[in-house]
């Protein structure tokens, strides 16, 4: 086991190194330059652009820029080109904003998908199963931004309450339970929207896993033994169907930093996804690359965690 962990960590560090090179290359190969360096503003003279280039090390060869960037990153002194703020501080602030949305969204996804999927599997082919399938496909196919607009228009015009942002703007100094509930309310729509796709996919997945397990011999045996219905489905079948999901948990991790560009932009949510998107538009290389690097680290940690979880929950796997 320890040998596995050691080997895995070494492999992942090598992967990370290549990811850092590739992502650096891709971002610099992409057309366009930072807005400070490539303005279509008559007031910018070539000398000033040149000064910006020097200040940002853009006049150096790529490998030197690479060294500068990762040196700064590991010293924690990378600053955004757009506003000169330390990149890590910016990311941390946004991460804290995206986190509640991510947690509520994940909770909704995982808690709703299971009962829906299990019931579909148990009553396979029934009215319930068929309507659940239908709704799942509707939810998968509906474009997120469109669904978001429909919900916002409905809520704003019918319920007449604000839904945009992290809280009602100018709510002022109302009592704290009101402020907490207000925040919860503002979290509701974006996290539902973030969860719809997940619910649709995950409940399908739960259903197929359950169906696969329900067909196994040991389930038939359990049923033949005359065990209660509940016990057959929820102990013998469900427990075994759960195995793949445990490992999926590790893969949620990268979602922490990704955020959702579309949902966050529509709801003016000051989250990670929106910041990353805007950084890309203004070619704020330090910010993009740092987010990219953290995302890569999280993906690798995620796969590592899921590998380990597999070992822990599945007695058939030995390392």
């Amino acid at each position: 086991m320890i040998a596995f962990i050691g080997r895995s960590i070494v492999q992942k560090i090598i992967t990370l190194f290549f990811v850092s090179i590739v992502s650096f290359a891709i971002i610099h190969l992409a057309p366009g330059e930072p807005s400070q360096v490539d303005p279509l503003n008559p007031k910018f003279t070539p000398e000033m652009v040149e000064r910006f280039r020097t200040a940002f090390h853009l006049d150096q060869p790529l490998y030197v820029q690479y060294a500068y960037f990762y040196r700064d990153l590991f010293r924690g002194s990378t600053v955004s080109w757009k506003d000169n703020q330390p990149v890590l501080k910016k990311i941390w602030e946004r991460f804290l904003n995206s986190l509640p949305l991510f947690i509520v969204g994940t909770l909704i996804t995982w808690t709703i998908s299971f009962p829906v999927g299990i019931r579909s599997a148990i009553f396979r082919g029934g009215i319930y199963d068929r309507s659940a399938t239908f709704i799942s496909y509707v939810l998968i196919s509906i474009p997120g931004f469109f669904f978001a607009y429909i919900l916002i228009i409905l809520v704003v015009t019918q319920l007449e309450v604000p839904v945009i942002g992290m809280q009602t703007f100018g709510i002022g100094d109302t009592a704290w339970p009101f402020r907490i509930m207000d925040r919860l309310w503002h979290m509701l729509l974006p996290s539902i929207l973030g969860a719809t796709g997940g619910i649709a996919v995950l409940s399908r997945y739960v259903r197929s896993q359950m169906l696969e397990v329900e067909g196994q011999d040991y389930v038939r045996t359990a049923r033949a033994k005359g065990l209660p219905w509940e016990m057959v489905h929820y102990k013998h079948a469900l427990r075994n169907a759960l195995l793949p999901f445990v490992t999926m948990f590790g893969l949620i991790l990268p979602g922490l930093i990704g955020g959702s560009v579309i949902i966050e932009s529509i709801f003016s949510w000051p989250g990670m996804g929106r910041m990353a998107y805007e950084a890309i538009l203004s070619r704020d290389y330090p910010l993009i690359l740092t987010i990219n690097f953290i995302a890569a680290v999280l993906v690798l940690i995620g796969t590592f965690v899921s590998d380990v979880l597999y070992v822990l929950v599945d007695p058939r796997i030995r390392l």
């Binding site: 303005p39 000033m48 839904v163 942002g165 529509i266 003016s268």
Partner: protein
Amino acid sequence: MRKGVFLSTRRFLILVPLVLSLLLLQSYFWVPTYDEQARGNPGRLEEYINASIGDASILNPILSADSASSEIESQVFDGLIDRDENLHFRGRVAQSWEVTEEAFFFVNDAARVPGALGSEPESVLRHLEQKRNDPAALSAPVQKSLQNIRALTLLPPRNYTVTRPRPGSDAKAAAEIRLEVAAPARIKLVLREVDQDLFTHLAEILGADYFTTFQAARHITAAPAVSETDLAALTEALLPAIEQNPVIEFRLRPGVRFHDGRAVGAADVRFTYEAIMDPRNLSPRVADYEPVKEIHILDPLTLRIVYKRLYSPAIGTWAMGILPRHLLNAEALKQEAVRSGKDPAAFSMRQSAFNRAPVGCGPFVFKEWKSDQAIFLDRFEDYWEGPVNYKTYAYRIIPDLLTQEMEFYAGTIDSYGVQPYQVERLAGDPRFQSFSGTSYSYAYIGYNLRRKPFDDPRVRRALAMAIDVNKIIRFVLYNQGERTTGPFLRQTDFYNDAVAPVPFDPQGALRLLAEAGWQPDAEGRLAKNGQRLQFTLISNSGNDIRKSILAITQDAWKQIGIDVRTDLLEWSVFIQERVNKLDFDALVLGWSMGIDPDLYQIWHSSQTGPHQLNFGGYRNPEADDLIIKIRQEYNHDRLVDYCHQLHALIARDQPYTFLYVPKWTAVLDKRIVIRDADAEGRSRYRRITPTKTGNHMFYFNQWIKLAEMPQFSN
């Protein structure tokens, strides 16, 4: 017992999502609806909430280059001057100002002055004085130039030594040359107002070649010696035959204070200038202030700015917000660097925390900035013009236009920039008042004049005649646009209303093309010498309006037999690969611009290289001359005259097909009105009316929101 456990697994799976959903949904009952918000929170009426699609980046007027930042800066900082209702300058921190000129020329002892006793300095001066006192024999413009002279003085010859980097050597070699300068006598003229024709008029008195034959190189010896051309370049900078230095003298308003209580003085203005010019700050505004020669502080409230050369856009640059010197000077920055544990040597104004918590002397005090959420400003009680009516100003960042609209309906933003397609339905809504005007920009089709067939003005005119611009305005812009015929702002005097738009006339276009040699073949396709008339029209992707224009013009040109292809490119590819490298036939693009009529960078023939803004390659010596004259003219009436000429000239040459100026529409709650005081100090309410140039925000400092919809008599 066991059975209970299994039951609870199932129940657990069902109960958890149920409880979670209920918990989330019940929060609705705690959230105030809009009516409750306004009733429970009267402070909302004293709060103005503005929405923007993008966040500010850096709240320092000398460093920022984006519109969101400058919008906040305009509330937090005040400049020396700004523009009044008619877009003329008016004083803000400056109470008054005067523009004069100092001009110099070296006495040219080699030239013979007609009618003078000799060519030595005293004779030349006496000759000029004499002409000034008795100008009868001279032409009217020359007389006027002479009357404009306030004083004439003779500056004695001067000997001095300077060192300059050796021309042609790079900075690393650090080779220097010593220059012994024996400057001859110089005559100084103090003028009442700037006169760009001064020396052409003086040449009529002193002789046509008096200024051109001055041999500066004779008065300079270089050690070690350099080539003649290098010496010429050096002497040109050291001893220019003539020099015109406009001078602006600003008198500041007494009693103006920064938000921290310090008085605003001339030293702060000079500091702002020095901060812009400091290369470490990488200010994007260097180009505006480069022509400044020196700034003298005459007394704590008076400031004299001398310019290196005639540059009339310079006056407008003093609308720049004034920075507080005591918070940002070298000493303050050093202390800040030490406090925050950074290297003081590498710490410039760009790194300062000031940029996220600015202090100015404008109507609002900066309070808080939540990135990508909102920026909050509070009213400045000590504002020199008296405190504004609104107590707080909030700038919300809502990146999505539809949600902006929703927030406007929900009452959580006060103003809303209406999309063209919404104008009709919102204008009729009784709850709202709406304003509209033309924006500071225009859209055009630009041609690459280096390529055939665009080098022929007849072809360009024919292309313009084939397009029905009114149709574009009607169907693409939902009538939210106005035609434009030239490069000046529609709402300024500089725009020449006498220039008629190119008519929509496909038959006429065909006739013009035939004149230029393009004849339709059997299938109606235009060709010349067996070569078909074909080219590619490009634009950037992501802009639906430009995309539609592309399709409409393509169709219009196909109708008269031109083979047009279109292409949409991602913005940075479009700019870097095509526009900057001048690799295009024709393109659809727009310019947004300031009020100042300086067109040098977009239309002057010296700006046609790669990465320059005259990418169409327009060259016209006549236009060049006018562009330079506009840059050097300080008199508004003459400026208007030159602009009208230039406008007509560019409209005749048609290097662009000028399409339209977009119109903006803003809606506000009708309860927002203007509150000011009458002569006896009683509050008086009136409706918000736009200024002549369409600016409804001009009286923003007097705006306030009422609890009830007001009724005005008319």
